[in-house]
Symmetry: D2
Subunit: 360 residues, 4 copies
């Protein structure tokens, strides 16, 4: 079967590169267009891109000519790795033109009719698209977002605990350098150092998990956020990839440690998500090793799509429990998460005129 053409916006950046790396040999999608700022437009991808991952860009993508961001996109599916400001105008314009946009930008994550999708956790939020199309008078286009790369592991670890009624959550993150893009963090700032601040990050951690863990209203018109007193403290550490989050949470139902561990171990994606190409065998993996998860040693678990959780123990200060959670920030926390969202959209029939049957 033919693969579906996709376009990457912001293709030369760190997340754009990760999209391209992950889409190499993807069973359903094929990178057909790359777009970036005027500085790069007109050059081939190979010329314009300072490839920061291992090895080199795939030759077939390296040969593509980069489009400027203000031009139309032909591909029915668009992955956006745009900075927030650029996303503001471009993403709705493309959705209005009939494209399904899966965005990693933060711009529209909290918009009332935009799903903030984490398929294992809230696949049903996808139905918000019907409301979105209605509101915005979009026919076949749509806009779906994935969360911030630190909200992501915290939310995935909390999802199996929803049954225990989380009410207060405090998150302290140790985030990788690649989360800041390229060139991003200067080596002079981070070697032998920690930077206890990441602009705009803590605000996202306070609101995004509550939306992702929320419930779709019965009329599928909006998300009712989980009531959660959340706070966050974000730190940049000298690690290349993967964000580690130390989570303290109060659970009104007061489960035992065993019940919590069991909840993680038995957690599964809903049936319609389970067999998508990028869904990991286990969304959450609990490790009982005393000194894990570690960013370098656990970031590629489940091909970088699983969340590894460990060190569960009581937390007197929050009157609950604490644990650490880890996910690969540019795979599951960004490009890989967005690709999984697109797989779900395709399967559920949200890519108008492009059916799962065509590709599977």
């Amino acid at each position: 079967m033919a693969k579906i053409d996709v376009a990457i916006l912001g293709a030369t950046g760190a997340v754009g590169q990760r999209f391209i790396a992950l889409l190499q040999d993807h069973p359903w999608f094929r990178v057909a267009e790359v777009a970036a700022s005027v500085r790069s437009a007109g050059k081939t991808y190979g010329e314009a891109c300072n490839w920061v991952l291992d090895g080199h860009p795939p030759p077939e993508v390296a040969a593509l000519t980069i489009k400027p961001l203000d031009q139309p996109i032909a591909a029915p599916l668009v992955f956006s790795a745009l900075p927030g400001q650029a996303a503001h105008e471009i993403e709705p314009r493309l959705a209005a033109s009939g494209r399904v946009v899966c965005s990693n930008a933060s711009t529209y994550r909290m918009a009332h009719d935009v799903p903030l999708l984490l398929p294992e956790v809230n696949a049903d939020h996808i139905r918000l698209i019907d409301q979105q199309r209605n509101n915005r008078d979009w026919k076949s286009g749509a806009l779906v977002t994935n969360s911030n790369c630190t909200s992501m592991p915290a939310t995935m670890a909390l999802a199996p605990l929803r049954q225990f009624e989380p009410t207060h959550v405090h998150m302290v993150s140790m985030q990788a350098i690649s989360g800041a893009g390229y060139p991003g963090v200067a080596a002079l700032d981070i070697v032998d150092n920690v930077i206890p601040y990441i602009s705009g990050e803590e605000e996202k951690l306070i609101v995004e998990p509550a939306k992702m863990l929320g419930t779709l209203t019965e009329d599928a018109s909006s998300i009712r956020a989980l009531p959660l007193s959340a706070s966050a403290s974000c730190n940049r550490v000298p690690v290349l990839d993967a964000h580690l989050v130390s989570v303290a949470v109060r659970l009104a139902a007061r489960p035992t440690m065993d019940q919590i561990q069991m909840a993680w171990e038995t957690f599964q994606a809903p049936p319609n998500v389970r067999n998508l190409p990028s869904t990991p065998a286990k969304p959450v993996i609990y490790t009982s090793l005393p000194d894990r998860p570690q960013p370098r040693r656990d970031r590629y678990v489940g091909k970088g799509m699983s969340t590894v959780v460990g060190r569960l123990r009581p937390c007197a200060a929050i009157d609950g429990v604490q644990f650490v959670a880890l996910a690969h920030n540019t795979i599951r926390g960004a490009a890989g998460g967005s690709i999984l969202n697109a797989e779900l959209l395709l399967q559920e029939g949200y890519l108008d005129g492009v059916q799962r049957a065509d590709v599977g």
Copy 2:
């Protein structure tokens, strides 16, 4: 005036080396004896020591012959950088023999008649020595401890807030490599990585601040710990020196941010501590820069003896405030803290027969 002879136990280790570096040119003390395990005993310090700090050991110390740990110490004042197990037998034995032992070991920190001293915070706890001498039938000897290197900045930052009645405190640390001694952490474990666990550390963070922030009973016989629901999560990060602690605390008195900031800015050591040689001009320095304190850039503030605090803001999860605190772990958090304790002991007359007047 002649300086007082001091002995360093565990002199070849990472903290032992820091004692030696800090005592170079100390106005009151002079390193006269060095003791270490049998592996090193009999060699000169220069031969036996793999100096891990910058440059080289001071020539006058490099020429000293290392004593075995089971021999008597001649110096009236002893700094112990021993591992916990070795400290168990050796420290009380030396105190019993009339030596004043200032220990960095954790072994006796929580003993009821042993001060856990942080002079700017609890200089009066020193009076517990009278009880200690009585209990143990020690004449001129004494045993005083300084806290764990992570308890230290957390406690120093909390001390000015005692007036606001702290009740719950959650600490997430990002700790430097040097805290594990030498060889300590293998490079293969920590380069491009975080280790979310440090054996025995969290237990110390839960109990030590409460003792240090506690009050001496009226009869000076024991410490009444501050009632504090404390929890901790300790992480090793790829930083050479200085521990950063992200602190969330509930304050029953509900002060404003301004009141807290003011409490830090006006915090002073008690008068009898203020002019000791190692007391920093400001024990706590509040920075309003958004991305500070940082380990590499702030660890030498106050010659490594100050605690730098920043990022004060509300914390919804704990229903209080959060901030970050930083101190140099092998200076203020270990050797430097112990030296300051010894200065206080000397000044307050606890070095029998050696008066402040002799050295000042």
Copy 3:
């Protein structure tokens, strides 16, 4: 077909672990025995091993009980990751008992009847085994070595240039932390630092390439080393894996830059090596990018089995040319190189009673 059982000596160390990781899913070999020092013997591999690579040891190896090193080995093929001293007695003993030993230890590399094998370069040196068996009265056993992990990329890069008559070579290495094993280099020694010395390393770089590039005498009784005035300067740098070597070489035939580049690009393994499971598609890859090869970005080229060469340019000081070469030190420079040697031995009939046909 059944796979051949292999034993790993020194299985818990950094190179031992790499053997186990690389042999997972190997088409011909299967890890059946693991042996290590008395400290580990008797435990299961999973219990005894502090796994320093990503993820976790393969479950089927984790379940094996570790043998002590003084016991017989049942497997016909033995991979040795022993330290030099242990190898001294153990390796010949096992060869005498009929085992084919592929060793990463330096102990016997320069012995006159022991091949120092780099299959793409000197596959014919394997014939020295006949002499070896004769000399030592070994029947089916044999001892074959692979080179030091820094000699390896230098030699691979020089091999295609043998036609241009190299006479003088100066090598300055920047070597990864993993080359020192585990725990190996202390983080306190290498973070924000370079150590311009690696014990015993420069001596190996001076003699090993000349042997590997040498020719088997007509009677196959010894190796005539290439006459080469070699010198080396070895440095440890804060890199996890892959050794970079800056090479300056005088070539008596004075080829042009194009001729040298062409020699690399057309270099191939001999036909009997080309299709072994671990032989890379291209043993040497020349990159014309100005700032490559880089350890982190090029270490997995050819699954870590290729050598990447770049930055070819004249060198006035040596009156020749200079370039940089890079290989993965624990894959091609150690375990992977040893496995490729074993594949060649098997194919060429040196595993008595175990024919290639049985496994291929």
Copy 4:
């Protein structure tokens, strides 16, 4: 005595900051003006500067308003930390206006009438200024340069060996991140990596040492470069400060190792240089420790103004000797070197109307 006012050009950059840090408490000089690009001009230094060194900028400099680079400078002495292109027009203009410019830029280093000054090595080259003023019709102004930060330690280590007639020198550098300025090297490029290329660096290493080691012609009209077949290979390593250079050199006079070591140990600055404020007690320090010099542990030797040399041994490939040399790249190799040059200029009467007597 009043201090002399100095201006810093390019004051907000990494080298500009180092100038400001080193001039704090300088006995002769006082930072009175700071100039930078239009982006910063008009702001106070404290506002405009992202201080990358430890701590914070000195308050008296933080309060200065940054001038644009196209305006006149009032101070008689100017330190330039400008990028090469900006230096091209600005430096001669300021010299023509009567300012003595001590430049760290590479632009005019190789100009025939511009001294490339390393006072311990070639203090007499300063007399080239008379020719320069004549050529360019400058009255009291002058332009003096210091070398590239990697040429510097190589040249300082070679200077005591001039008597042994060096003819061929090969240099392989391992250079610190701070050499690239700020933001400079992206953390994503250098963590767990080496970059075997630094644009324009090798060219400088080939020509600068020969000029610095050269002799002033009898009529003081030009420098006769030392005839030297030089080649270089430059690498960026994950080190914050200090450049390490592995040097191989052929010495026609064939001295013994002892003679070379003696030459380093007895090397002194000329008498008129020996007592300048920034001259280190020993310009070259030879260490016999097997694993030194190391960047992190030796960069502050002589307050960062000494060059540490070690690991002297024969080098078969170059038919000579090899050793490693280390200097702090932003102190001795940049700002500190330039300040020492200015001290020499002042003492030797090249700051017209400002005599040494006024300040000493």
